[in-house]
């Protein structure tokens, strides 16, 4: 029998991993909760919507919590990956595919057919699933629910309950617990509650604040520099202006400093909502990411293409915005374009001057990317009008980005395909924010994963459980530290290592990348001879 069909090599599927009675009851509770949501989706008109929403979300949460308690608290502390590749849900089995298809369909409906969820159009009252969330939304923001409120609530609940599960799974590991508590906090507070409360401010005519998740940075929140967003912020007094300044400062000042000190993990594994969902609800799928060299090549082309796209799209949006009313702002569209080009040139020159030897062949790709951007900026400058860049309406460019990247890539593929491609598809192949932070991490950061001398036994646990598809073992078995732009610093490679070989650390820049041929433990003269050649 081929290993592809039956990875465990077993003739009889291991039945010892069957669910316990408590786990079956827990799952039943969760299914009842989901059933209420589905009834609402099918336009069942519940009498007391607040109560039924509470029951539905309550059952889902209690089910997940009880399941986690039984799965982990009945065992001693330690690595809990028994049977991962035997379970249908976590090994691309039937359940995995079903879950993938349901999630994908959900995202398609969410992004493109919100009326199916019951979104009221043209001021009509919500119906169906969305109306079930109306009382909760009214309580928080004073507005009726929208499909995004429904999504935000489910998203937050998922991070909280699966975060709890993750913390039990790693209850011997303080790093895992702290960063999970952190993403739970940022999702609940920054992404969910604060924006809802900010909407309360808009009840006053002085405020017109757009949805603003304080922790979400450009270019992840690519809509920050949209006309409606800028209009909203600029017409909301000091708070609006402060938010806009915070948005700019966070990407240009705060994030480079934190990434220098701690690596991009400070964001991707401790703060970010996309990362938060991936690390909690997506944890069961981390082993599905491809570790092939070909996947790495694809990753580098895709993610940097998205980055270039997002930079151009944003520049075009601001350019058009500034051009729409030339006398309104101190910044003119021409000055803006030149500054953007100059800033990119500065970064390019610095990287080439100081890091050329580290970059090797990647320098060529960096140069290609840079010149494409500059060429496009020049095109905007010479051919752009106040409303059009590249002879198309810049709004269309923005719509295309929102459609292909924002909706299809980050939502439908990024999360819908969790059970098929792993839990960090978006973060790995698409997120332009991850690309920027990754560039900083690779070029200028104290962060690395240290390999412990010669202790690696090449078992492959680290690579298998790397959600970003990094072949961690290929470095560890050479005694080499792992310095990769894609590493989000989740720390799971270090956790699952059976021999204590890997440690996430912030240390000096010197000796961060330490290629070795002969590993520690062998003849000292030989090591000197080969490693210092």
């Amino acid at each position: 029998m081929s290993h592809k069909i039956n990875p465990s090599m077993s003739l009889v599927k291991p039945e010892a991993n069957n669910l316990s009675t408590k786990q079956k009851i827990s799952i039943s509770l969760g299914i009842i909760g989901f059933f209420i949501l589905i009834l609402a989706l099918l336009n069942t008109n519940f009498p007391n919507k607040g109560l039924f929403l509470t029951i539905a979300l309550g059952l889902i949460s209690v089910g997940t919590i009880l399941f986690a308690n039984d799965a982990y608290l009945t065992k001693l502390e330690g690595i809990k990956n028994d049977g991962v590749w035997f379970k249908s849900i976590s090994s691309r089995g039937t359940l995995g595919w079903i879950a993938g298809i349901i999630l994908t369909l959900f995202y398609i409906v969410l992004y493109f057919f919100e009326e199916l969820l019951g979104q009221g159009v043209n001021g009509a009252a919500n119906t169906g699933l969305i109306s079930l969330f109306d009382p909760f939304s009214l309580l928080l923001s004073g507005r009726p629910a929208s499909q995004w409120f429904v999504y935000g609530t489910l998203y937050t609940v998922a991070i909280l309950i699966f975060g709890y599960k993750f913390m039990l799974k790693y209850r011997h590991n303080r790093y895992q617990q702290l960063r999970t508590a952190s993403v739970m906090f940022f999702q609940l507070g920054f992404a969910f509650l604060i924006p809802e409360f900010m909407a309360r401010l808009n009840e006053s005519p002085d405020y017109n604040l757009p949805y603003y998740d304080l922790k979400s940075m450009w270019p992840l929140n690519y809509y920050l520099f949209d006309g409606w967003s800028l209009d909203g912020l600029l017409s909301s007094g000091n708070i609006g202006l402060a938010l806009l300044i915070f948005g700019v400062v966070s990407i240009f000042v705060i994030s480079p400093i934190l990434t220098y000190k701690y690596g991009k993990r400070w964001y991707c594994s401790w703060v970010c909502g996309c990362g938060g969902l991936a690390e909690t609800a997506g944890d069961s799928f981390r082993q599905l990411s491809s570790k092939k060299l070909s996947a790495w090549k694809l990753e580098r082309w895709l993610i940097h293409t998205v980055l270039v796209f997002s930079v151009i799209m944003t520049v075009a949006m601001i350019y058009t915005y500034l051009g729409s009313d030339p006398n309104k702002f101190w910044l003119t569209k021409g000055t803006f374009l030149i500054s953007a080009g100059a800033f990119l040139t500065l970064i390019f020159v610095l990287a080439m001057a100081f890091k050329r030897h580290e970059l090797g062949t990647d320098a060529r790709y960096g140069a290609i990317g840079y010149f494409i951007i500059i060429a496009l900026l020049l095109t905007i400058h010479f051919l752009g009008t106040t409303t059009e860049v590249f002879f198309i309406n810049s709004g269309n460019l923005r719509s295309a980005y929102g459609f292909y990247i924002g909706a299809i890539f980050s939502g439908v593929v990024g999360t819908g395909f969790y059970p098929i491609l792993g839990n960090r598809v978006w973060c790995r192949f698409g997120c332009p924010m991850a690309a920027i932070l990754g560039f900083q991490q690779r070029m200028f950061s104290k962060f690395r994963i240290t390999t412990n001398g010669g202790q690696c036994i090449s078992c492959g646990n680290c690579s298998t459980y790397c959600e970003m598809g990094i072949d961690v073992r290929s470095y560890a078995q050479k005694g080499e530290n792992i310095v990769r732009s894609s590493c989000v610093g989740c720390g799971v490679c270090s956790a699952v290592c059976p021999r204590g070989v890997l440690k996430l650390e912030n240390d000096s820049l010197k000796g961060r990348i330490n290629s070795k041929e002969i590993l520690l433990g062998n003849d000292v003269d030989l090591m000197d001879l080969i490693n210092h050649k």
Partner: protein, 432 residues
Amino acid sequence: MEHIVIIGNGISGVTAARHIRKLSDKKITIVSSETDYFFSRTALMYVFMGHLTFEHTQPYENWFWKKNRINLKKGYVKNIDTTSKMLHFAKGDSLQYDKLIIATGSKPNKFGWPGQDLDGVMGMYHKQDLENLETYAPNNKICKRAVIVGGGLIGIELAEMLNSRNIPVTFLVRENSFWNMVLPKGESEMINRHIKNHHIDLRLGVNLKEIKANESGKVKSIVITETEEEIPCDVVGLTAGVSPNIDFIKESNIEIGRGIKVNHYLETNIPDVYAIGDCAEQHEPIGNRRPIEAVWYTGRMMGETVAQTICGNRIAYKPGHWFNSAKFLDIEYQTYGWVFANPKENHEHFHWKHEDDTKCITVEYNSNTKEFIGINTFGIRMRHEVFDRWLSDKKDIDFVMNHLSEANFDPEFYSTFEEDILSSYSFQLQTA
């Protein structure tokens, strides 16, 4: 072009091949009867436990070998004709070599127990053993109990494997405490308790008398020598150590003892024939090392070394400070330098154990000179590089105990125990 043939595609042989390729353009062929591609033997347990698939245990993608011009041949070498420099395979074909590296590893020990070759009796070493285990112990309905014979590193791994599928395990250990010919008393006893906490039926100080068969020739029970107790079981794991896998060499002119006899240059008595890894036996042991070292790391080092010799830079196998690692169920173990089960002459042990009974260290030192000899650490990760340096610098135990935090390799935010260890050490000095 010189043809280098390597028998065995384990860590030793593959490391040798990779380094020869880096250093030269020689033609390289790796022969194996076990698998098509190199895999990490130490990871087999994780395949059975469902942490990994077998493909995950292969450190290199399949294109790697062709790209690096390393030929792979699947076949079982029946004998070696060193006069004509020819390998003869079981299937009748043969292969000419210019230089031969034997890296055939080990095989599980069998001590002539009655019933040791019955169906359902197996070692845990080769990929075929794993497939065997899948047949006889896929779950706890087909395998209602397994008995493991032999309390070493493979024995406890096999216990963990079976435990992961909720198969009840009886673990027979000849010694009166787990692995106590290697581990000092405090550590060994801590592991005894940890094994029992995992609901494994650990029997200390007992020997296997015989394995009994049912009518179809499959194992049905075992009998313990000391008590005559008969334990019904469906699988018996024989994990009483390993010995060099060299049966096919006995007919050749290559000198063997327990393993293939080699000098410090890893050369056998026959020119152009080398032996590395588990199957090699040093004429003269190096330092405190055993003449046969069946350890992943030493196999790798011998591979690194022999590649130099074959490519014209003849150097001796000269391993540095001893180190090793293992994992006992949930407890990780690392060792640097030498810690003996009982302190050597003029040596003493300092032992510290955490109250949660999953962390401890033992430091061996010279009681006259205070020189630091080695450390065993359980449940606390330590830095290889730091201990290697301290051993080279011949630091004394006071220095090591006062600087222990520099060697800590636990993940960030973990509780640290250096202060506790130091105060325990100081207290012990005062009362000594």
